[in-house]
Assembly symmetry: C4
Homo-oligomer: 237 residues x 4
């Protein structure tokens, strides 16, 4: 039996690792099978990522809330849904898991364990895209988790599939994912120099959505603890 | 805290903006990545729109009902599910949000903020398509919301994905969406001159479905208020 | 207010019409946009049909059971879930609706209202495909409706999307659909001469599945009336 | 009426047969329609398999638990969810059903009933892929079935669609499936010589996930019997 926090942190780490393996691995497979056709590679990448998110949030949600995303964890902590001590453990597990997931994808496809990305993703339209993408993601997560918690896995998977297509940045919307994707010189990579701007835009978008939903859907006391997906801290102990 | 109506109107505006950003943005991405292959662009566009609708209706449904569509709002008002005063506020928010969403998509993809569409969508077969598309959409919304309200987000998203393919007009089925799409000279645009015909066909299709479902599925008194998605006016106050 | 049976029959007719409009319309759109690429046309056709079925069964299920298929109706009648008088009214509405749906698709795409198909679909492997396709469809419908009725719309939509790909006949699995598709000389057509063989194979597959599920999942008395989707005859009156 | 175990064993056999017909049949259809484009064939194959799994688990889950996979059955037996006697009957039915399903797919597409595959799938990265694929699959199944049993069909279908893309082996993740796919010299085949390595990697991945989830989500006594999907042995008798 793990202690309560240890189990939740392991769930965040493994879940984020499987998420990154899905994102990066399906990008490599798409790139290889479709040759130069970036549209078809993105189609496979977006469907695999959305479907994978549905499965992973259903799987790890009841244990840790299935944040897999520092913006979600920080927003939850800012609303009292998580202690700041737990939040920092979550974020560390997410970053470590994300990096591990990139390595796993690379090993599955016989790539070097890590390779700095050379893919430029810069410019104001990219930053605006990340702001919108993360604003939308957090609005979906917060509003659904307060009123329709069982639908969160489907809502997040569907949203991300759409957002891969409707933003010019293909919606990273997650600082741990962004950092880890700077370590893969494949379809889903991002040049390390472009990471900080993405993270700033993501945090800004996430904060805006948190404020909006707090105004639109006032939380009831009991709901505050169950961010993203209702989970039972007692049983996950 | 917003007042009751203000929160619902903001939800309609932001939801419709994100819907248009999804429709127009994914159309631009598809057009760019697939070059001249309109079929693959439509595939990406239809999957992104359907998935986005599922997420957005789950998100904003509990607040405002997630109409995002003047035909839905007017049909609801005609059945007593909404006061006419609230209905006009909804429609204004939908139109303003839709236009804002087009601008957001254009900025994300470095296009001019607005550009009048040059894409012709005219002829009796297009009008008949919009009649059928909106008839089907309103039948889905009305029948599900009366008997299976929690399934409305999935039903609408699935319906629209299908309707992009089975109508020659690619199913606008929404006057606010039609008007806003006249302002984008990209994949999903419509020539301003063709907008009025589309709107007339949409209103006719919506009225026909409303009459049909009222006959097929007589409403129970309690259900009349919860058009589209059950929502709690008290809590959204 | 319609009488009880009239409402159910109208629901079967309109639902089957919209199903055929979806099947035939998305086939025409796919064929036109993808030129000679039958694989991509089938991809669009299978996704549109599956998504459309989810929406239509959610919509009309609570009214009539959303059979849309004579094999389903006859199987239900053979198990006492429907009187034989009602069953014949259902079948007539399904056939009439299916033919109407083909006409609607043709009008939306500026094709002649009807055109006999010249597409050959014959040979023992096609008949075996239709036997397997209908066996699987009826097994899904019967087992889900007895134990997991709310999941029937998703199960049927998912099954048909898969079955378009795993059978050489692309899974008609429905005599009303087969008959109506003989009247369209487009992507989804079938030569009139090949219709009778398909229907025999479909009925045989449906009967085999009905026997199997009756043995696997003995029905409880209360469940017998709610074939396909629980519906309330009293309210649909 | 079948005896309790006989009904469950028949459900495992027929379900696994339909699963293999879906996997192999959709692979043949994709290969034929898309010619040399392996990416598009995999897209059709992954969508058909995921959708088919959703339908089949919804259908047979309430009868037998819808394992369709010896690793799932052995993991369940190791946790006391199934007697070892029942487990061996399940595994035999799964293997026999899988082989039957390949034959059915071949007959539907006019291929020889069986044909040894010549497709090499070897090397450490393939074995690592199968370890990860089965680890993820069992984590999804175990965690969902303990806390969110009704979501298992969707979670498994979504996971497998994603895993076809994010592993270099395209995620067999199932010894019965692996064995049967050595008998088809088509898109989804695997050279008989590569089967044993796959099975060892799958069992190792499945054991690792079983241990992890037992630690993360301690089972409650009542849940132990309902592996994968809650089912009622009494009614399935």
């Amino acid at each position: 039996m793990g202690s309560r926090l240890s189990g939740r942190v392991v769930a965040e780490g493994i879940g984020t690792a499987l998420l990154l393996a899905t994102v990066v691995g399906s990008g490599i497979m798409g790139e290889r099978l479709f040759g130069g056709n970036a549209g078809l590679a993105l189609l496979a990448n977006s469907l695999a990522t959305g479907a994978g998110l549905v499965a992973l949030i259903l799987t790890f949600g009841p244990v840790s809330g299935a944040h897999f995303n520092p913006v979600v964890t920080l927003a939850a902590a800012s609303q009292g849904g998580l202690s700041w001590r737990d939040a920092s453990a979550y974020v560390m597990a997410q970053v470590a898991g994300a990096i591990l997931g990139v390595a796993a994808a690379h090993i599955m496809f016989s790539e070097p364990v890590f390779s700095p990305s050379s893919r430029a993703r810069a410019g104001p339209e990219m930053l605006f895209s990340e702001f919108i993408a993360t604003f939308g993601l957090l609005a979906v997560i917060w509003a659904c988790s307060r009123r329709r918690a069982p639908a969160v896995p489907l809502a997040v998977g569907a949203y991300i599939t759409a957002a891969y297509w409707f933003t010019s940045s293909t919606s990273f919307a997650n600082p741990a994912v962004t950092l880890a994707r700077s370590m893969t010189d494949t379809f889903t990579g991002i040049r390390p120099a472009d990471v900080p701007g993405f993270i700033v835009a993501q945090v800004a978008g996430g904060m805006a959505a948190t404020w909006l939903v707090r105004w639109l859907v006032p939380s009831t006391p009991g709901a505050a603890r169950d961010v993203v997906v209702p989970h039972d801290e007692g049983e996950a102990r």
